[in-house]
Symmetry: C2
Subunit: 234 residues, 2 copies
């Protein structure tokens, strides 16, 4: 039966060992992919040494505003009993990344959908934070500017307290330092705050403690690496 495979890719440089054999084997066997970005998708496929020429592999980019090309490709694949892979730039397709629209089309057509195991910075950060993994919310990106970010963080702190729910968000690497500074300013001393950087990578670093302990130690200078931030109160 024609299947749409959701294929996670590494989230850090040279971290191919973070993928299960099954995930790599499935990616190796396919010749039709729907992807976030062609260039990185082809780089990934080369890195796992697919056993065919790159010219034999079709790679279609996802356009969330116009899904017609992907829709047609999936319908043809379904009719031909052909399997299709979905690849995002890093991590799991559809999680803080494009891919959901492709999966929705597959369900509409009646294609089988198989999610494969691989790295997700959100999930790894939540595990490593020591915070409540029984209830949590992921917010995507918060406001990029200081005053609005301050208010966002205080709202998250209130939600964490009221619902006993861990609050996660992400930010682009070059803004990590600013987020840390605003968080230490905005949050109450006994609120727990976690920064998880470069997960699965050579510079992996998870710091998780109360705001007052962050302040006591002096805010560190963060690397410009991908980061997940987490807020909780218990």
């Amino acid at each position: 039966m024609s299947t749409l495979f959701l294929i996670p890719v590494p989230i850090a440089l040279d971290s191919i060992q973070s993928l299960p054999t099954e995930t790599v084997e499935v990616a190796r066997a396919l010749d039709l992919f729907v992807v976030e970005r062609s260039k990185t998708a082809r780089q990934f496929l080369k890195s796992i040494a697919v056993n065919k020429a790159m010219s034999e592999i079709t790679v279609l980019e996802i356009d969330e505003k116009d899904t017609r090309v992907v829709d047609e490709a999936l319908r043809s694949a379904y009719k031909e009993g052909r399997n299709v892979g979905v690849l995002s730039e890093a991590g799991c397709p559809g999680i803080a990344d494009p891919g959901a629209s492709v999966v929705t089309i597959a369900h509409q057509i009646g294609m089988r959908v198989r999610p494969l195991v691989g790295p997700s910075s959100l999930l790894l950060a939540l595990m490593a934070s020591g915070m409540n993994g029984q209830r949590f919310t992921f917010h995507g990106y918060l406001s990029p500017k200081r005053p609005e970010l301050m208010r966002d963080l205080q709202r998250l702190e209130q939600q964490a307290e009221r619902r006993k729910e861990t609050q996660l968000f992400i930010e682009t690497p070059y803004r990590s330092q600013m987020v840390l500074e605003v968080a230490l300013d905005a949050l109450r001393p006994d609120t727990r705050f976690c920064v998880a950087q470069d997960l699965t990578g050579a510079g992996e670093n998870v710091i998780s403690k109360k705001v007052k302990d962050w302040k006591m130690a002096g805010a560190p200078v963060l690397e410009k690496a991908p980061a997940v931030f987490i807020v909780y109160r218990n």
Copy 2:
């Protein structure tokens, strides 16, 4: 440096191929574990063919109400520069499972915390649902009884609409059928509803469509397998 490794285990029978080589290698090398349940932890360690006798491996059960034994064990390990593994019964430690208290102790002591990659039914279900992975909340278990469950589901539906946020929850296998019936009763026709069962297992099945389409097809008889349920409106 003494490290606490968070080690995911398979979530379905005979699905060891869902673990990355790195995760298995780390588990094989350790001889001290803090676990949700000794019996299943030892079964897992046997299944990956650890290269030492089971009698050489120390396994401590997590007691969320009394963390003294684990606290002492981690402090000794830290002093001796020894590494420790955390194992839950299925999936990722600390995610909808015990483990967070252990991680919190490690951060307090100053141990390094390294989360390893492996299967999470929540994350796989979210990927496979085709729903919004940019904003989502995991609620754990909802109310077990019909009238309260009905209200819970309508609350989730409202949250999904108001916040444009995907809503996830879990339930024990023998209640899956009841949850499906109540959901089709409680939710509005154009709300999207997903049931993801036995992920990574032989009976893996993900159904994701609007409530009206569930009703049109007739509610299927669900297997008594672990399930993740997802609600969204867009």
